[in-house]
């Protein structure tokens, strides 16, 4: 148990460091702007005010957590290596996998902090308080995606330069959403080879589109319990895969 305590210590250390940096403040600032815009847009319409407010607001929330997961995830360990603050930590009796898990946990803590703040601001700034459960589930789905994206970002951030990893992480997030669209276009092309390639893609990529609950539709049509459970296990499994690969790679990474 004591062994695992080091993961929490490292997560707290990382989270504290990122909270004091300007980058996190900028994301919070843009989050507030998003909430303001959501209200502005919703006030421009008569009939679908709620819909616009939540569609736009929740898109802002997801964008925020994905920015945090991808940007901080790709930079968290590499930044410590570049600043040489990792040298002394690595001489302590902690396995390297704990550094990876600590970095991931810190990113996830930052995502939770951001989404709680964002959701709270969205709820208190709107007059509609009937959708608390729907809003909670929408936030939860964004956090599940952030879990996977941050683990992917950390794994890739250890293998290539952070800027390349960042590009790849954002592409990964977009790709995981776009699978049905790609499938649609491939089916129109009627190319057997492409269909087979797509089948492989579908198996090796998380299916974010299956728990895209950040729209107004899901405020009134809540996802079923089995859908929620599937989303949780799907995200946990993908997170575990990426964190395992990250730990495996970091185990033999030379800190020069």
């Amino acid at each position: 148990m004591n062994q695992f305590y080091s993961i929490f210590i490292l997560a707290k250390l990382n989270a504290r460091e990122w909270i004091r940096l300007k980058f996190f403040h900028i994301i919070i600032f843009f989050g507030l702007i998003f909430i303001g815009f959501s209200h502005m847009l919703s006030s421009l319409t008569f009939s679908v005010q709620e819909r616009l407010l939540y569609d736009f607001g929740l898109a802002g929330l997801e964008l925020g957590v994905i920015m945090i997961s991808s940007l901080i995830g790709t930079h968290s360990i590499q930044r410590e290596i570049d600043r040489k603050t990792l040298f002394v930590l690595l001489t302590r009796p902690i396995p390297r996998s704990h550094i990876v898990l600590g970095a991931w946990l810190s990113v996830f803590i930052l995502c939770i902090l951001f989404s709680c703040g964002f959701l709270f601001s969205l709820i208190i700034s709107s007059d509609y308080s009937n959708y608390t459960l729907g809003l909670g589930l929408a936030t939860f789905s964004s956090l599940l995606k952030a879990m996977v994206v941050s683990s992917f970002a950390i794994a890739l951030g250890l293998m290539v330069r952070p800027i390349l990893a960042l590009g790849a992480t954002i592409s990964y997030w977009i790709l995981c959403y776009s699978l049905p669209d790609i499938q649609f276009f491939i089916s129109k092309l009627k190319d057997d080879f492409l269909i087979r390639v797509f089948d492989v893609f579908e198996k090796v990529l998380p299916q974010f589109y299956r728990y895209n609950w950040k729209t107004f539709y899901y405020m009134t049509h809540l996802p079923s319990q089995s859908e929620i459970l599937w989303a949780v296990f799907h995200s946990l499994a993908w997170t575990a895969v990426w964190l395992f690969l990250a730990s495996l790679f970091f185990r033999r990474k030379e800190i020069v």
Partner: protein
């Protein structure tokens, strides 16, 4: 008792796949016995820092063996080792006390003993007055001293100090030297990399000299300088002889 034994350590770096690998360590072997203060010297690029990084598993040797207390290096040995890096890059948003607490917790030491130990160690490194100051407000000398404090905090049996006095002003050097003398009196096993021969001569019992990736001398400092009045003189003569031998 042998604390550290290094056998035939080799390390190559591959800067680019199309370039020839850079051989940094060639067959490095040495032993460090308990209670000895060892000075680790050699020119820049000789492989001192690479050897230290191999000892701490920050990088991995291509071949060779590192034995701590007669066993292959593992996680449990890290509890027995304290390390001060060449440049004290620490988490600058932490206070001195928080920084020590971080390392105490990571070393899995019991929390209730921390305060007493931290106060004791801060007194030793003369930083008790700055314990609540953030590390970003510390001077270079203070950072070096808090670095020594974290290295000594968990009662290590073996200390690795990578150039503890580089870039310090005279006052800072005097203070660090006093701390190192205390360690020597306590008969702690220390490996200290340094470019300052007068400090090595004053503090160390043994000498380990590296040149171009190999250990060229390993033994007592007294034997090394027996025909000379200072270590600097002995080292200069040794280097001339070494270069002549290599040229021949």
């Amino acid at each position: 008792m042998t604390v550290l034994e290094v056998k035939s350590l080799m390390k190559k770096f591959h800067p680019d796949f199309y370039k020839k690998p850079n051989v940094v360590l060639k067959d490095v072997s040495f032993k460090i016995n308990q209670g000895r203060f060892v000075g680790f010297i050699g020119p820049n690029g000789a492989g001192k820092s690479t050897t230290i990084k191999c000892l701490l598993e920050l990088i991995f040797p291509d071949s060779g063996q590192i034995l701590f207390f007669g066993e292959k290096f593992s996680l449990k040995h890290r509890v027995k080792i304290g390390f001060l890096p060449e440049r004290p890059f620490f988490q600058e948003f932490l206070t001195g006390m928080e920084f020590l607490k971080l390392h105490w917790s990571l070393a899995q030491k019991p929390g209730e003993l921390f305060l007493q130990k931290a106060v004791e160690i801060l007194e030793l490194v003369k930083l008790a007055h700055a314990k609540d100051k953030k590390l970003k407000d510390y001077s270079k000398g203070m950072l070096q001293r808090i670095g020594i404090a974290q290295a000594m905090l968990c009662d290590p049996e073996f200390l690795i100090l990578d150039e503890p006095m580089s870039g310090l002003d005279p006052d800072g050097r005097i203070l660090i030297k006093r701390i190192l003398k205390v360690l020597r009196e306590k008969k702690m096993t220390v490996l200290m990399s340094s470019h300052l021969l007068e400090d090595v001569e004053e503090l160390c019992d043994d000498l380990l000299i590296m040149h171009a990736g190999s250990v060229v001398y390993s033994g007592a400092i007294e034997n090394f300088k027996k025909n000379y009045s200072t270590l600097e003189e002995a080292y200069s003569k040794f280097k001339v002889d070494l270069n002549e031998n290599l040229n021949a």
